[in-house]
Amino acid sequence: MSDVPDHHSDVEKIKRRSRHLRGTIVQGLADMATGALAADDTQLTKFHGFYQQDDRELRAERKLQKLEPHYQFMLRMRLPGGCLTPQQWLALDAACRAYGESTMRITTRQTFQFHRVLKKDLKPMMQAIHHAGLDTRGGCGDVNRNVVATANPHRSRIHAQVYDWAQKISEHLLWRSRAYDEIWLDAPASDVPEHEPLYGDSYLPRKFKVALAIPPENDCDVLANDIALIAIVENGELQGFNVGVGGGMGASYGIPSHYPRLASIIGFCTQQQLLAVVEQIVGIQRDHGDRSDRMHARFKYTIDEHGLEWVKTELAQRLGQPLAAARPYHFSDNGDHYGWLEGDDGLWHLSLFIENGRLADFADFPLLSAMREVAAEMSRQGIGEIRLSCNQNLILARIPVAHKDAIDALARRLGLLDGLRHSALRRASMACVALPTCGLAMAEAERYLPDLIGKLDLIMRDLGLEDTTIVTRMTGCPNGCARPYLGEIAFTGKAPGKYNVYLGAAHNGERLNKLYRENIAEEDILAALRPLLERYARERDDGEPFGDFVVRAGIINATLEGRQFHEQVLQPKT
């Protein structure tokens, strides 16, 4: 094991001396006097799929009470393509009831997060997930994350193939250390030396994300990923994938060198080439990514540092041949299509709107229990599967026509279809978790966006826009977890109750937005948006999305490239 250069970040050092992600996690789990793990270990647990957090609302109060912060853990599963069986759903439902305060959260990368898991429950929780045939390996950490794919399986054969690739890529890019089995699954420790074939002892410089989209749907915002794979279907057959590199949403306020970036398409590869292409791109980032400054360590910065041509050359060298030229494709939108859809294999799929992906038993709607009933019924009938979408929604998929009416009636009785009556605006909205668990949040998101949408709905209705879909996103900070920079309207938290407002992203995830107003509260948000929506209602072209309209109307300058994101911001006229 070679030494870590001095200038490398602390996390690099922690990774390197962790004995392949073991650290002192086992000792930390056994220490009953604190709900926390050792600080260094909290970097390592991310690779195992979980984050140490604390309830931020209780911090001050507990400090006074001479109690440590309310430490708790967020677990994130690996669920490539967002697909699970009804039985697996039931197992996760039981696990969240036992260890996760009876809630689970569909994430923007079509998997589940469990919140508020206490240290003492981590191991039982991990085992419950394991017994369901699932895992959390690489849920977080400096490795490849959950591989996402277009969720809607109506083009069934293509979808099945793409989903299969999502699985394979995820498996291919897994970290291999036995630490996971030793710590969580009571596997015996072994003396056999370990090495990570792909990642090496230091893993990647930063998180890494791969997505696969099946045009014209871009529900997974494929271009927001480090590797964007766009399925090319010709004559009804999957030919391969266009390959994009260097997408990412993370930005910072006031730091121009941190910007969101959409993946640049660098060519096309066949299915046979796919794993090698993905592996070599990961290799480029592993070898050339910045390990000193984590703020500058994502692949997008590696690319902009060296230039796209360099990446192409480097990749060609590693592959022994350059990629073929990219093929044409077209994205229509990045939303979900609610209600029943028939697949080309005759099976049916019911997409349900789940506000901000939060599954729980709410006072006025026992959503979690309703879904349990549906999953139990599907399991009893031996039909279907459940899919999560990158818009935090879910699909009861692959329902044989003979069962369609029964499932429809059940879902209706349980109130699961009520969500479909929401405004088009709400159904195209998405917020990140933010407070109270996210340690980086500066303002509310998941708990506030529903209110704000309610107020915008009134304006929309006034203007006769209630059936118009405008992609609206909110995050509690500029990190971009709900991919706000791809929102036609977006809010990012600056301080409690205060948001930056962004406008002008494309309706299909192919153009970033730009800052419109800074640090304003609800009243000003509504006051700022109302006149724009009025103009839109009056002046829009037929079918013109709001994001395109604000650019055409000169309200905002188009962001054509990540590096321009912070530029050409128009000053508000006061």
Binding site: M32, L58, R62, Q65, K66, L67, H70, K120
Partner: protein, 603 residues
Amino acid sequence: MKNTARIITQASPLNSDQAQQLDKLTRTLTPLQSMWVSGYLAGQQSFQAEEKTAPSLQLAASSPSTLTILFGSQTGNAEAVAQQVLAAARDHGIQATLLDMAAYKPRDLKKEQALLLVVSTQGEGDPPDSAQELHAFLHGNKAPQLDGLRYSVLALGDSSYEYFCKTGKDFDQRLSELGAERVHERVDCDLDYDDAAEQWIGAAIKLFEQSPETADGKQLQSGSTAAPAAVGPTRKNPYQARLLTNIVLNGRGSSKEVHHIELDTEDSGLVWEPGDSLGVVPSNPLAVVDELIETLALDPNETVSVTDTELSLREALTHHYEITTLTRPVVEKYAALAESKRLHELLSEAQRTAFSGYVQDRQLLDLIEDHPLKGLDGSRLIALLRKLPPRLYSIASSHQANPDEVHLTVAAVRYKSHGRQRQGVASIFLAEGGGDKGTVPVYVDRNKHFRLPADDVPIIMIGPGTGVAPFRAFMEEREVLGASGANWLFFGAQHFLSDFYYQTDWLRWRASGLLTRLDVAFSRDQAEKIYVQDRLREQARELYAWLQEGAQIYVCGDAQHMAPDVHAALTDIIADQGGLAPEAATAYLNQLQKDQRYHRDVY
């Protein structure tokens, strides 16, 4: 001074020359001077004795031909009274020796001729730790015949307990059974023991003045041990401490309400050592006072006399009398007034259990409602009641670390019974901010059985719940002193998240290395209940190793379940790890207790 010469020559070990010189001197002395001289000699004697017996409790060597005063005390009340007995003996020119029962050789009993015994009752009618050995000896088959021993017992207790003054009663009865002569009836003191104790002392001491030995010419000289001078505020004259901080330590979702209380002690003259308790002199809540007055249709402004002071009834009930807790004497007096057959029955010996059950969760008001009594006036009411006793709280901070504040860890007593919401007097007095002016009357109650050992001695602290309080004082003290001894804390409570008192302090001390080990048991965080005694057992090997290295054990907190369970666990651990038979393990633990290496402060 008439017969001194005769006494000196006849009965003293002095040679005739010495006897004459002494006789000459004593003839010239005024009473005051003679007292001084006797004190001087006794003081010298005890000083030498103390030097010989190193840092032990022993105050003076006992010598068979003098009055022996023995005390058995847990929190120091009996000891303080015994000090008064000694002083009174001295005043009466009686040579007396004051001894803690723990330091007394039981076999010496048969050599005694005059014995005054002051003992409290602990647990559920159990002797204080320091009295256990003597108590057991007297009740065992090795107990000697004690004909010729003249004695009297002062029992301290609390009439709200089922077995009121039981230990005193035990000693009294047993001494008599063994042939000793009870020269004065035992007096059973309630928590407001001052007056009763004073009377007993006065009467008993007189009896020994006229003892046969004296009559047949043997002058008893008064022994003396310098009683620790009472410093600062006292029970009778407490300090009005300003309440600075009052925080509920329990996080959300807890079923407990434990307050961390900080009181201002700047310029108070209060001095304490880790292990001491703070006596809190509470007042009754006005609502309870008024409800009582109303129920009995009394005049709140009626003038009543409380220890020679005229007060309004309302004031008297607020500050001077216990008007909630029911005790046997109160019920007895009430039954007499109410002429209630039902009550008399309840008070009968046959109904002991029923009586305990009745008073356990009822208060004075319930008694009055259940057995109405007409025509009571204020004076007759207060004649029924006992004085409002102060409550003790283990001090949770070190005077060395911060002399300007004293910290307490107070569990608020609130419960519902028989359709009424009830509250504990003192805990709620504290929890709700003290008296009108935000002050709390307090004094220090010493607990010399619960002291930190020398700086380099390792300690094992077992303190679940509020029992952890003194250990915070221990750690603060050891931190400022830079004490090198290792420290191991066992803490327990219901829930980790909400009930881990002073968690951040313990974690800080663990991180700094002061707290060597920290083991916790949270009983309700998993399906099966886990308590500190279970953690002790898990750590048996390590714990025994600590003991072998001279570690001292401290147990503080619940007396009913925790302390006996911990005791049993320790016995088992010693048996297992030391390969000892159960009796030998018990003896080992008893020896630790005798050697002042196993300390308990339980309530």
